[in-house]
């Protein structure tokens, strides 16, 4: 450690902070072999928090010795060996199931404690890690899943992501942050990195310097969803590719040293920036980095929601990428393996994970496309998915999460499948479902967000129910969707949404997106519509 913990003498540190001063989170890797050998009962409860730093959460019920395990995949790029190892881990230790997360990571459930050392060993051999996939540390660096092959990227961000990832990964100077810390590095001009919902985001930009157009980044800070969502704000700086590490280190140092450690509820970077104001934060960044040029031209021209379905030409002539739908991000490890093998047989072996919980096979030559697509796996994971199932996302839900009030993944799939059968549209509608207020399924930026709650019916029954939120997006700085009044019982959800979307179909202009429709019609009209639909079903 080469820094002074300036907060160490603060009398008002929360319990986690006091623990972290005594023992760094990364030290959990020294303890895990002992626990794995001696069983779950050998873990003192006060040590549970440290497992997060190894990308592990004790899975409910909490006495069974099973874990959720998350593996980082920086900017979503996996080579063939890595993809194979990830499928083997699911097959051997995770009941043949793995999830693609909204931060491009891979997540498993039911991982037995005693298997952790051998899982870590398998991952290490292929340069993958679970370290800091959770915990108060820099999480997986998200970005453009098409980095290096993207006709719509300003430049290839792979070297920048690699530099940032390796700089922060297991770096003791940054392993004790006040809370989780999310970085995005993206040069896709359709905001593939979801910049506005990250603590620190580098977005595509250009600037004329000394008469020459230079490509680089703008910098956004302080974004995040959770129960108090906040859209990141832009610093007035232009950053070249070789300055990214310096700027990232400066922002993270400020967060480490001045971020709030009294209450964990107020520990994310957004709270510090809200208090300081963006101007003061920028001044402090510049004190650490030295002078940087003022912001140049923002090169972002829209938002693609993180969807890349279908076959598309890469910037390398004769090569293509194939975007595959993985409904709500859940896939059997056997199927993940099959897709990895197809990637090796027809492409370069690479696979890419997307923040919309989907997959991409890159580097398929023109002449191999037809042969690749003849494989039966694409019946299960289509490249042209239906407009609801293909664009649905869901958090983990109460199946595994201790905070969720309702099921999400199964419910979302069931709902989307019915809508696909009964509502034919000319545009996709992004429906994201979450089981609590924390928005792990990014409900706030959905066309239609669905949030779970528990309702007691007039007959006294306890049932799952949901609230709807409409009109979220990350265009032009972003907008969080807005709640419509009315709770919908689980049994009525698909009926209500079907009618709601029939109205959209009937009233929309050709090609009009749900977001544009919401803007045109206004929230009051949609509220009135929902009131009518709910009262019809409640009669």
């Amino acid at each position: 450690m080469s820094y002074v913990k300036v907060w160490a003498d603060n009398q008002q540190l929360n319990k986690n902070e006091k623990n972290k001063l005594k023992k760094d989170g990364l030290s959990v890797f020294d303890d895990i072999p002992y626990y794995a050998k001696n069983g779950f009962e050998s873990i003192p409860k006060d040590q549970y928090m440290y497992f997060k730093y190894a990308g592990l959460t004790v899975q409910k019920p909490q006495d069974k010795g099973l874990f959720m395990l998350r593996v980082k995949v920086p900017t979503g790029i996996l080579n063939h060996k890595q993809a194979v190892v990830l499928s083997e881990i699911g097959q051997l230790y995770g009941r043949n199931v793995q999830d693609i997360t909204t931060r491009q990571s891979i997540q498993y459930h039911w991982i037995p404690l005693e298997k952790l050392p051998e899982i870590f060993e398998r991952l290490k051999k292929v340069d993958l890690t679970t370290s800091e996939a959770e915990g108060d540390a820099p999480r997986n660096v998200v970005g453009n899943p098409l980095a290096g092959i993207d006709p719509n990227e300003l430049f290839d961000t792979r070297p920048v992501v690699d530099e940032i990832y390796r700089f922060f990964q297991d770096n003791p100077d940054f392993s004790n942050l006040p809370r989780k810390y999310k970085i995005s590095v993206n040069a896709n001009i359709y905001n593939a990195g979801h910049a506005e919902i990250n603590d620190l985001a580098f977005t595509p930009a250009s600037k004329v310097i000394d008469g020459k157009k230079v490509l680089g980044f703008h910098v956004l800070v302080g974004g995040g969803l959770a129960a108090k969502p906040y859209l990141a704000k832009q610093l007035n700086v232009f950053v070249t590719k070789n300055q990214v590490k310096k700027v990232a280190a400066a922002v993270t140092t400020l967060y480490r040293d001045f971020g709030y450690r009294k209450s964990r509820a107020r520990a994310r970077l957004k709270y510090l920036i809200a208090d300081w104001g963006i101007e003061k934060f920028e001044e402090r960044v510049l004190e650490l980095t030295g002078t940087l040029p003022a912001a140049g031209k923002d090169e972002t021209i829209g938002w693609n929601g993180g969807f890349f379905f279908g076959v598309h030409p890469q910037k390398q002539k004769g090569l293509n990428y194939v975007g595959i739908s993985v409904p709500v991000g859940r896939i059997h490890s056997d199927d993940f393996y099959k897709i990895a093998e197809l990637a090796a047989q027809f492409g370069s072996g690479e696979l890419r994970t997307v923040n919309s919980q989907n997959l991409i096979i890159p580097n398929i030559p023109d002449h191999s496309i037809d042969k690749l697509l003849k494989n039966d796996i694409f019946k299960k994971f289509p490249i042209h998915p239906t407009f609801f199932t293909g664009y649905a996302m869901a958090c983990t839900g109460n199946e595994f999460c201790n905070l969720a009030l309702t099921n999400t993944k199964d419910k979302m799939l069931e709902l989307a499948e019915r809508l696909d059968r009964e509502v034919q549209l000319d545009v996709p509608v992004r429906i994201y479902m979450v089981g609590c207020t924390n928005s792990c399924g990014q409900r706030h930026i959905a066309d239609i967000g669905i949030q779970g709650l528990k309702l007691r019916t007039p007959e006294g029954q306890l049932v799952d129910a949901y609230e709807l939120f409409v009109g979220g997006h990350l265009n032009n700085g972003g907008h969080f969707n807005e709640r419509l009044k009315g709770r919908i019982e689980s049994s009525l959800l698909s009926d209500v949404l079907k009618d709601f979307l029939f109205y959209f179909k009937k009233e929309k202009k050709q090609g009009e997106t749900f977001y544009a429709f919401t803007e045109r019609k206004g929230k009051e009209t949609l509220q009135s519509l929902l009131d009518t639909i709910i009262s019809h079903y409640e009669q």
Binding site: A227, T437, L462, A465, F480, R487
Partner: protein, 72 residues
């Protein structure tokens, strides 16, 4: 023990309740009790929902009760 945040929707608008309970059923019973105790004139309750759950650890748990914003 969990700490539940509930919303009670009435003809006059919505208000909030907080219940420390072992499970959801108990949380609703606690909310019922508090409604009966605190509301003098009987009001028409349209529905009661649990919108949030926190696990009560040694350091406790709590909610700030305030009107919901449009995105909440």
């Amino acid at each position: 023990m969990n700490l539940y945040r509930l919303i009670i929707t009435t003809d006059e608008g919505e208000f909030f309740a907080v219940a420390a309970a072992e499970n959801e059923e108990q949380a609703f019973q606690i909310a019922d009790r508090e409604i009966q105790h605190n509301i003098l004139t009987k009001t028409n309750i349209r529905d009661i929902t649990i919108v949030e759950k926190k696990i009560v650890k040694k350091a406790g748990a709590g909610y700030l009760i305030q009107p919901r914003k449009a995105y909440e």
